[in-house]
């Protein structure tokens, strides 16, 4: 991906994983990838229940639109009530990118 583009950095600590969480997470991943302006996603989870997901987008408007998506809003509510002990969301503008091959 060629900067500039935008990243949403989502860090979380789970209090609970259940089937509903796993299904919702899967559904949200599928739905995210269909949104206009979606560029990609990276996700990693530790055994202790903490995790990081970074989504990449081509505009701040695309991020806002996804945040306001009705099904996503419902998932966010469920996340706060049921699954997360805590989480943080950071919106950032990616200005530079390089990978192993280019170093």
């Amino acid at each position: 991906m060629k900067p500039p583009y935008y990243a949403v950095i989502f860090t979380s600590k789970h209090k609970l994983y259940n089937d509903e969480y796993n299904e919702t997470a899967k559904r949200m991943n599928e739905l995210t990838a269909k949104q206009e302006g979606f560029l990609g996603i990276d996700s990693a989870r530790n055994e202790d229940g903490s995790g990081i997901t970074v989504c990449y987008w081509n505009s701040i408007e695309a991020i806002k639109k996804w945040k306001e998506n009705t099904e996503h809003q419902y998932a966010q509510q469920m996340g706060m009530k049921e699954w997360y002990e805590s989480y943080s969301v950071r919106i950032a503008e990616v200005t530079k990118e390089y990978s192993m091959e280019e170093v």
Copy 2:
């Protein structure tokens, strides 16, 4: 942390974990935290060997200085040669942050 500040998003896929990697990673975490301008770090690793580390900094200059640190440069070289199958580094400016309590 109050935006604006800067994030380095490091995503990687390992080909090898060994004692030397684990020692170096530990040493780099300790050393990073001592750098001027360091604000914090989040890290998560999947069982398949892929992972994400996000470091937060108060300036681009602090990021550059850490990248050029001699011991860190040696670790980067080792990483490329021995431990990583691939990796990407993204530099981003965090413009907005909120956490569960503030939503």
